[in-house]
Amino acid sequence: MTASKKPGWRIVFAGTGGQGVVTAARILTEFFSARGNQVVSGQLHGMAQRGGSVQASVMIDCGISPVIPNGAADCVVGFEPVETVRALPFMSQSTTVFMNTTPVVPYVLSQQAVRGKGSGQYPSEDSLQQHVLSVTPKLLAFDATELARSAGMVKTLNVVMVGCLFGSGILPATPEEFAETVMKTVPSKLAEANERAFQTGVDFGRKLHKPEESS
């Protein structure tokens, strides 16, 4: 029995303080709650805004537990390469993983480099992808930060990632349904940037079903 065969949808968002991880989880939670689903979303913050790792979970129609068991995530949405791999314990062979390939380099690496303690090196993109691929073949790695920038604003990274999640068809709602509900609540001056970022993500997520386009 693998945990992922239980009913419901279990999503893990992983990134660093300031990337909009908690906001992404909250928007998803509010959307599915308004839609009539049972939703439980967990977050850990506190010292996170000082540049730490941030993980948030969203569980749709899963029950009352606030924490996703090991190996039980249907999808890990990684806003940052190292943070994606940090969420490895949540993954199983049936987990879909999105990995933004733009790193946020931990400041300790510069300290290591200068003090000659530790490697001082950010792990290579290839090694990080290999860690994920050793657990699940369903990995989509792409430069989401660049996509957000080309959509108008780097700060819309979390919108791109959520778009990608909806585009992948993993969730029990369509991108159109989500966009229609959520964009209504966005201040008008930001609506266009958010919409463009979301659509960019959706288009990318859809490539999961058409791997020939993702190369």
Partner: protein, 620 residues
């Protein structure tokens, strides 16, 4: 991104007048909703993770609902205010983290003697695994220790329903009541069903009755006997509450409290154990003895699932002993669960399978590779970095640095190394005094503006009398930053906010002669003042005042300063900037030093430190 309008919706839900409607809420927001449904009239708090959003939500809505609200100077005062309001008939609430209740422990210990008038609820959020705290104490012991009924929610809907019920329980027993949510309830969002917002409020009147409200020894002894009756009444009222439900109908018992119940319930459902197991929730204390007794008679063994101390476990043992039920009781003392830290779904899953002699859970072998860690760090542009750097430059390596609770605890470790010890709010001053007296070493005590007024003031008064050789450095950034930028009572250094309290005048008022207020972003003048303080004897106070860089940008709307750049022509890779500052905006890749424009705040401290003149404002 998405923008502010979306988060505004949360404030809307907490006030939504639509009984029966569903809304997704953070646990801490659901507590506020429960209080509004119970007719809360008065609220005071001191922020502390994971409780802070309770106060922040009240801050956003109180004025519009006619509720008295304040961020108090400390938890003891917040609790005393809530008690005073209760004596005047108001339904009152105060909130704090677990440690805050220790600080408020003196008044808290006597309120049950005096008794309340309006219902009074203390939210004291727990932090198993000490995720954002220096300890993980179990506040449930306040129940049998000081006679407080305590609610222990497992879920967000529990938090709402228990808060609402707690006000009723408090008024009917005249006991103050504690709500003890933990991090996994406070910071979890889930769907709740909204109840009816209170339509009536308690009448406000203070009836003079000194014998009733003054626990002088003779009165206190009379009151003590009444407490026993009132605490017994609380147990009776709890017995008719919905917080001790049983799920499943098997003969193998599981008794679970707090988030442990949520995990156990989920596992019993997922594994389809309803015919094997009877699962009882313990949602409050004192545990109604008849309910627990009936459950123990209905099962032939018990597993206890609770975080922190074996609090329920020992109650179950006592109850089974009284009943003469000689059944196996398993839990912490049998090694099914650890004595410390929070539980998780996998741990509870394993324990339930082991308890039921089921085959072990299939292990999903995922080995976590070594990854670079991301310890919390002072933000780019944080004025504390400048203060720490300059203090270290003036006072050197051998000085003992006592530190305190706040963002500035991040002066711990290299490269700033301005934290040799931390204990509790305001403790830096007294620790420094005693270390100076006993060792003869030079000591510097750091504390922030909010901590200064929280409990630094009496420590400073004591220091003035005791006159040890201590330099106190107050890091005044005008905001309680670590817990989410709650307003500090301290005035801005430039006097722009006349309503704030002046640290400088307070220090002078205590008779400290050597006191200076400096701007740590003016490095040379600050260094001169610090060097003078080092030469002086007795009590020296240096107030380093500069606004929090994040708060300043995000909330005051001031413009982002231009990021700096490393001029590679001048940079000789000496590494000084990284070695002494630890700013996350400076990156070293293959011995090349660069400033990440997205992260840089433009504070120019690195340019001050660089002796090659290699760090310049962008575009120069």
């Amino acid at each position: 991104m998405w923008g502010q309008a979306v988060s505004g919706a949360r404030g809307h839900d907490v006030l939504r007048d639509e009984p029966g409607a569903r809304a997704a809420m953070l646990g801490n927001v659901a507590i506020v909703r429960g209080a509004l449904e119970a007719g809360v009239q008065y609220f005071a708090c001191y922020p502390g993770t994971p409780s802070s959003e309770v106060g922040d939500t009240f801050a956003a809505i109180a004025e519009g609902c006619g509720i008295s609200f304040e961020y108090s100077v400390n938890e003891k005062i917040a609790l005393e205010l809530a008690f005073g309001a209760s004596l005047s008939g108001a339904r009152s609430m105060c909130s704090m983290k677990h440690l805050g209740l220790n600080y408020a422990g003196d008044p808290a210990s006597t309120i049950p003697y005096v008794g309340v008038e309006g219902g009074m609820v203390i939210v004291s959020a727990g932090d198993p695994s000490a995720i954002t705290s220096p300890n993980e104490q179990d506040q449930r012991h306040f129940s049998n220790f000081l006679f407080y009924p305590i609610f222990d929610p497992a879920t967000v809907p529990d938090a709402l329903a228990m808060t609402r019920f707690a006000f009723r329980l408090s008024e009917e027993t005249r006991l103050p009541v504690i709500l003890r949510p933990t991090t996994r309830v406070c910071h979890t969002s889930s769907v709740v069903e909204l109840g009816q917002l209170a339509t009536t409020k308690n009448k406000i009147v203070f009836n003079k009755d000194p014998a009733r409200y003054t626990p002088m020894p003779a009165n206190a002894r009379r009151m003590r006997k009444e407490i026993t009756q009132r605490y017994q009444k609380a147990a009776e009222l709890l017995a008719s509450s919905p917080f001790f439900g049983t799920y499943g109908s098997g003969s193998r018992g599981i008794v679970a409290s707090g988030v442990g119940y949520a995990y156990a319930r989920q596992i019993v459902e997922d594994l389809g154990l309803e015919d094997t197991v009877s699962l009882m929730q313990i949602g409050a204390y004192p545990i109604p003895e008849p309910l627990l007794g009936r459950f123990l008679k209905s099962v032939d063994s018990v597993l206890i699932v609770e975080e922190l101390t074996p609090f329920v476990e020992e109650r179950v043992m006592i109850s089974a002993f009284r009943l003469g039920r000689n059944i196996p009781i398993t839990g912490k003392h049998t090694g099914h669960f650890p004595m410390e830290f929070e539980y998780g779904p996998d741990m509870v899953d394993d324990a339930i399978r082991s308890y039921l002699d089921m085959p072990a859970r299939p292990k999903i072998e995922v080995s976590q590779p070594a990854l670079p860690i991301r310890p919390p760090v002072l933000c780019p542009g944080c004025p504390h970095r400048s203060s720490f750097y300059l203090v270290r430059k003036a006072f050197g390596k051998k000085t003992v640095y006592t530190n305190d609770i706040g963002c500035y605890t991040l002066g711990y470790g290299p490269p700033l190394e301005c934290c040799d010890t931390v204990l509790s709010m305001g403790s830096s001053i007294s620790e420094a005094a005693a270390i100076a007296q006993t060792t003869g070493k030079r000591t510097v005590a750091f504390l922030g503006d909010s901590t200064f007024f929280h409990s630094g003031l009496p420590a400073l008064a004591n220091l003035v009398v005791n006159s040890a050789d201590v330099t106190v450095v107050v890091l005044n950034n005008h905001v309680t930053a670590m817990t989410g930028f709650q307003p500090s009572v301290a005035a801005a250094a430039d006097g722009s906010d006349e309503s704030g309290l002046s640290i400088l005048r307070a220090v002078k008022g205590l008779g400290v002669k050597n006191v200076h207020e400096v701007d740590p972003t003016d490095e040379d003048s600050t260094l001169a003042v610090l060097r003078a303080a080092k030469k002086g004897s007795g009590v020296n106070v240096v107030i380093c005042s500069a606004p929090c860089s994040v708060y300043d940008k995000r909330l005051s709307g001031s413009e982002k300063r231009a990021p700096l750049e490393v001029d590679q022509e001048f940079c000789n890779q000496c590494s000084l900037c990284v070695l002494v500052l630890g700013c996350p905006a400076i990156e070293v890749t293959d011995n090349k030093y660069e400033i990440v424009a997205d992260l840089c705040d433009g504070c120019k401290l690195c340019a001050y430190v660089c002796n090659q003149d290699a760090i310049k404002e962008g575009g120069e």
